[in-house]
Every structure is written in structure tokens, then in C-alpha cells.
């Protein structure tokens, strides 16, 4: 068994496209949520960020994308670097232009816009306007269902279709780094598989680096190169995916597997988890 949280267990060698170093985030001047969060996302890789509810995963993504600002959140310590450049504290519209795009938790499509208008909105920061048409086709290539629904009002799409649209809209910005916040939320298992396969393809074919936050550890670790596990506002465990899935605690708490590989009932896991936390 790996000891929890003793610095970086595995070195990436290469320098990260995105680096968070000891980041502290405070909401409303008093609520301390990130308490020395550090992680590295190397160019071209898929990194999974796992953790239970309220661990601070969404806050981490918002600190990176700058969306924290409109929620009265602030990076009060540490720093965030993208491509060797400090980005902590910049406005979200600047950060998007630098090549980071956050696909927010809960899909957040523009309900009264058509599917295609949603995609056009995603391309807002692009300067190469003439390539937008081609990129809409690219998105339809990844998500053929969206092509059939192109003129449909986005609010009436199913949850899965909305998630496809949310990811496609992110693709329209042609980001170097895509932040995905729980793309599996509320979707049927088969659809989750499909969406994660497409995320993997986007990573391989478009060269987009991906940081994905997930509750569904199975499917996230299935496509990721490296995984981080956070609890109470900091990283408690990290490692290359192959090593992580062998870790006893990860198997138990995040993959829902016991030592013999048997699935535990959800209730048991939750109960047990309350007693044994990573940092207590």
C-alpha cells in the first residue's frame, strides 16, 4: 500500500503545461477551500483529478480558468502557471485567449440558443473566423448526433446530448488545455463510456491536453495517463494510472472494489469512508 500524500510519488520528467504550486483559495475572504493544492499537467496528456464531494475539485478548475473571480473566490497563496507564464488572478476572458477552456460542471448549455449557435458562441475568442465552419463540422464528426439536432433549441436536448454539446462547444475554442468538470454527471453508463472514448480521441487527434475531474474514477482512470486524488483541499495521493489502480485504498474508495476485486455495495463504501478519511 502506498502511503498517502508524501509529496510527489512519481516524477513526470517533462515540464508541465500547467503547474499549480501550493495554491490556496479563499471564498468570501473567510472560507478556506484549497489548502496548498499542487499538481502538474504535462502537454498532450490526460490527467484525472478525483475526490469526494466538496473536496475542492471544481474550485481547482475555477482557480485555473479564472472563473473563481465572479464567485468572490481568490487565489491567496501559491501560483498557477500555464506554458511557463503566471495566470493566477487574470480575468477569465484573458485566460481563454491563452488557450485554456473549462467545460463547466452540469453542462451549462445556452438553453434558448440552437445547438449550432451554442457552438458559434464557443468560438467567440477565435481570430481565424473563416475556420469556424470547418470546426463545426469537426465537432459533428465527433458527435454525429449533434448534426441531426443542429437547429434544435439546446434546452430541449437530453442530458447526454447536452454534455456532447458542452464538450463540442469547448472544442470550438481550439484550446491547448481543456478542463472537464464531471462529464459523466447524470449520464447512463453506456453513454459515459462513449463520451470518454471521444474525449480520448480528442486528446489524441487534436493534441488537446486534458484535465478531467470525475466522481466516476473507473472511467476517468480508464483514459487518463496520470491521476491525482484530492481530499479536503489538497492532493493526498497521485500516480501513474497503472500504479493507482493497484493501490488498495484507491480500489476500495474510488473504484468500489475490495481486495478480491468484488464490488462493494455503495452504502458500505460510504459508511466506511466516513470513518476512514485520507487526512484524518
Amino acid at each position: 500500500m502506498l502511503p498517502p500524500s508524501r509529496g510527489r510519488l512519481f516524477s513526470w520528467g517533462a515540464v508541465g503545461l500547467l503547474v499549480l504550486n501550493n495554491v490556496e483559495v479563499i471564498y468570501d475572504h473567510v472560507i478556506l477551500v484549497l489548502k496548498g493544492m499542487s499538481l502538474v499537467v504535462p502537454e498532450g496528456k490526460i490527467v484525472a483529478l478525483l475526490g469526494s464531494n466538496g473536496a475542492g475539485k471544481t474550485t481547482t478548475l475555477k482557480a485555473i480558468s479564472g472563473l473563481l473571480k465572479s464567485e468572490k473566490g481568490q487565489v491567496t497563496d501559491g501560483f498557477i502557471e500555464f506554458n511557463g507564464e503566471r495566470i493566477s488572478g487574470l480575468e477569465p476572458e484573458i485566460i481563454v485567449r491563452k488557450g485554456i477552456f473549462q467545460v463547466m460542471e452540469g453542462r451549462r448549455v445556452f438553453e434558448h440558443l440552437s445547438v449550432e449557435e451554442n457552438l458559434i458562441a464557443g468560438a467567440y475568442t477565435r481570430r481565424d473566423r473563416k475556420n469556424i465552419r470547418a470546426d463545426i463540422e469537426l465537432v459533428y464528426g465527433y458527435f454525429p448526433r449533434l448534426r441531426d439536432l443542429r437547429h434544435r433549441t439546446a434546452g430541449y436536448l437530453s442530458g447526454g446530448e447536452q454534455q456532447m454539446l458542452a464538450i463540442g462547444r469547448g472544442l470550438m475554442a481550439r484550446p491547448r488545455l481543456m478542463l472537464l468538470d464531471e462529464p459523466s454527471l447524470g449520464l447512463a453508463p453506456l453513454l459515459v463510456q462513449e463520451i470518454f472514448r471521444i474525449i480520448k480521441r480528442i486528446n489524441q487527434e487534436q493534441g488537446a491536453t486534458i484535465l478531467v475531474v470525475e466522481q466516476n474514477a473507473n472511467v476517468a482512470l480508464g483514459i487518463a495517463d496520470y491521476g491525482y486524488i484530492m481530499e479536503g483541499g489538497k492532493i493526498v495521493l497521485e500516480g501513474e494510472v497503472d500504479r493507482l489502480v493497484d493501490n488498495e485504498d484507491v480500489r476500495e474508495f474510488y473504484l468500489g472494489l475490495s481486495d478480491v476485486g468484488k464490488r462493494k455495495s455503495y452504502r458500505n463504501v460510504k459508511h466506511y469512508k466516513r470513518r476512514k478519511r485520507w487526512l484524518s
Binding site: S65, P92, V96, F101, Y124
Partner: protein, 294 residues
């Protein structure tokens, strides 16, 4: 019959101005949930500034209008920055008080500068009336109607198809999501206020050319309420349809009911409509449906 047609044409012209002013009101409401009680004052500013340029500075009419609209763009942006932005995140009632205060302040300043008597534009549109079948209509009416209709059509197309229009609708739907794609919500709201001030000012110039300008024209800022309640607070097509409907109803009431009751019906009708709509269809004719999938 002739009388009836005269009334319809008057109603359409007044309705077109209502539609313009309501259009700006709805844009602001959609983009930032702000109820702007100062739309009527934007209209007054437009009417007075253009008039002053033409009368006192001898600026040719079209140039005067262009200057006025440029000034209104600035006015809209400045008002948003100085008056509304400090209220972001405050309670609805505070924001309403802010725009009410703005309306009174602007009206006070306007009266200080231009006084209260009615001022008239020099004849800009040809005097000769036009015959439409049996009806005789002065050209200024037709021009006003035409200009308003073209403007409304241009803006409708702008919102439907231009990328700025799409982005403005996106930000109205979900501000945080819009921000996440690099859209500056502050910039969108500034554009909204600029457009609202400009369309109201155009309404003011048109009305001013018909009836002259005096501070009581600001009542149109209040007439916007029945219009948008009828059309739906957040619906652009609703503002247009509502504007023409209220304009027509008002004109019909003035023509047929006022003589019977000795006056006053015309002024009351829009607010009767407002109350009835609130009772039977609070979201208005075209109000945004809250999308709920089943």
C-alpha cells in the same frame, strides 16, 4: 372609414415609438435583469440634443442625428458604468431604486437645460401630405413608421445572425457559462445599454418631429411597462408586438371612447391591459418559457 384609418395610422406611429423604447428596455432586462425606469429620459435626451444641434448650431439634420446617437452610445455606457455596475449582485429593489433615481436625476438636468415649454423642430420632412386612397397622411408619419420598422428589422436580424448578437443572447441565458468561453459580460452589458439609449433616442427624434419636444414626453418611459408586460419582459418580438398593440389600442380609445366619456380613456387603456395581462398571463404573450424537460 377615413376616420378609422387615420386612427390606425396614428396608432401605428405611436406604437412604433413604443416598440423602440420597449425594445431597449427588454434588452437591458434580458442581459442583466435590470428594470430600467430611465428609458423615457434617454428618449428625451435624444430628442433635445438633436433639436439643439439643428436649431442652435445649424447642423444639418442627418449629421445632427448621427452626433446625437454617438452621444447616446456614450451616455448608455457611462450610465451603466457609474450607476448600475456598483449595484451588481444587489437586491432587485435596490437596482429598481437606482434606475428610478437615475430617471429623476436625468429629468431634473434636462429641465434645467431646456426648460419645460414645448420646442419644435424646423420642418424637416416635406409638408405636402400624402394621399393613401381616401386617407390623407402627413409625410412625417410615414417616415417615422418606416424608420422605426427598418430599425426594428435590422436589430432583429442582428440578434438572430451576427456573432455579437448570438453572444449577447448567450450571455442573457447563462452569464457564468458565457464567461467560461471568454465572453466579457461587462462588455456585453455595456453594448446593451448603448443600444437601449440609441433606440430610445431615435424614438425621441421621431416623436419630436411630429409633436415637438417637452419634458412630458418622458411618460413614454412608463408606457413601456404595459407594453413589455403584454409582450413578455424578456421577449424582443414581444416588445415589438406589444408596442404596436398598445399604440393601436390607445389611439382607438382616444378616437372612439374619449368623445363618449369626455376624455381620459386613452390614458387609462394601456394600464387596464397591464392589469388584465398580469391576471391572465403573467409571462406576457411571448415571455420566455423556463425550459423544463420532462
Amino acid at each position: 372609414m377615413t376616420f378609422f384609418l387615420q386612427i390606425i395610422i396614428t396608432g401605428l406611429v405611436v406604437g412604433a415609438v413604443y416598440a423602440l423604447v420597449a425594445f431597449g428596455f427588454v434588452l437591458i432586462y434580458k442581459s442583466s435583469d435590470v428594470i430600467n425606469f430611465a428609458q423615457g429620459e434617454f428618449l428625451l435626451v435624444g430628442a433635445y440634443v438633436a433639436l439643439s444641434l439643428v436649431v442652435f448650431y445649424q447642423v444639418p439634420f442627418l449629421a445632427a442625428v448621427a452626433l446625437t446617437l454617438t452621444m447616446c452610445v456614450l451616455l448608455g455606457v457611462v450610465v451603466e458604468r457609474l450607476v448600475l455596475r456598483p449595484f451588481i449582485g444587489e437586491r432587485v429593489i435596490s437596482v429598481i431604486m437606482a434606475t428610478l433615481g437615475l430617471s429623476l436625476l436625468m429629468r431634473g438636468i434636462i429641465q434645467m437645460i431646456w426648460g419645460t415649454e414645448t420646442r419644435v423642430y424646423p420642418a424637416i420632412f416635406p409638408d405636402a401630405p400624402v394621399r393613401l386612397g381616401e386617407v390623407v397622411v402627413s409625410q412625417v408619419y410615414l417616415w417615422s413608421l418606416g424608420v422605426a420598422l427598418v430599425l426594428l428589422a435590422v436589430f432583429t436580424v442582428f440578434f438572430k445572425y451576427s456573432s455579437t448578437g448570438i453572444v449577447m443572447r448567450a450571455a442573457a441565458d447563462d452569464q457564468a457559462a458565457a464567461q467560461s468561453m471568454g465572453i466579457s459580460v461587462k462588455r456585453i452589458i455595456a453594448i446593451t445599454w448603448a443600444i437601449a439609449a440609441v433606440v430610445a433616442a431615435i424614438g425621441g427624434v421621431l416623436l419630436g418631429n411630429i409633436n415637438g419636444v417637452n419634458p412630458s414626453l418622458a411618460y413614454i418611459g412608463l408606457m413601456v411597462l404595459p407594453v413589455v408586460i403584454l409582450g413578455g419582459l424578456d421577449s424582443v418580438p414581444g416588445a415589438i408586438v406589444g408596442g404596436f398593440t398598445i399604440g393601436l389600442l390607445e389611439s382607438l380609445a382616444g378616437g372612439y371612447l374619449d368623445p363618449l366619456f369626455g376624455g381620459g380613456v386613452k390614458e387609462v387603456v394601456p394600464f387596464v391591459v397591464l392589469l388584465v395581462v398580469l391576471m391572465v398571463r403573467p409571462y406576457g404573450l411571448f415571455g420566455k418559457e423556463i425550459i423544463e424537460r420532462v
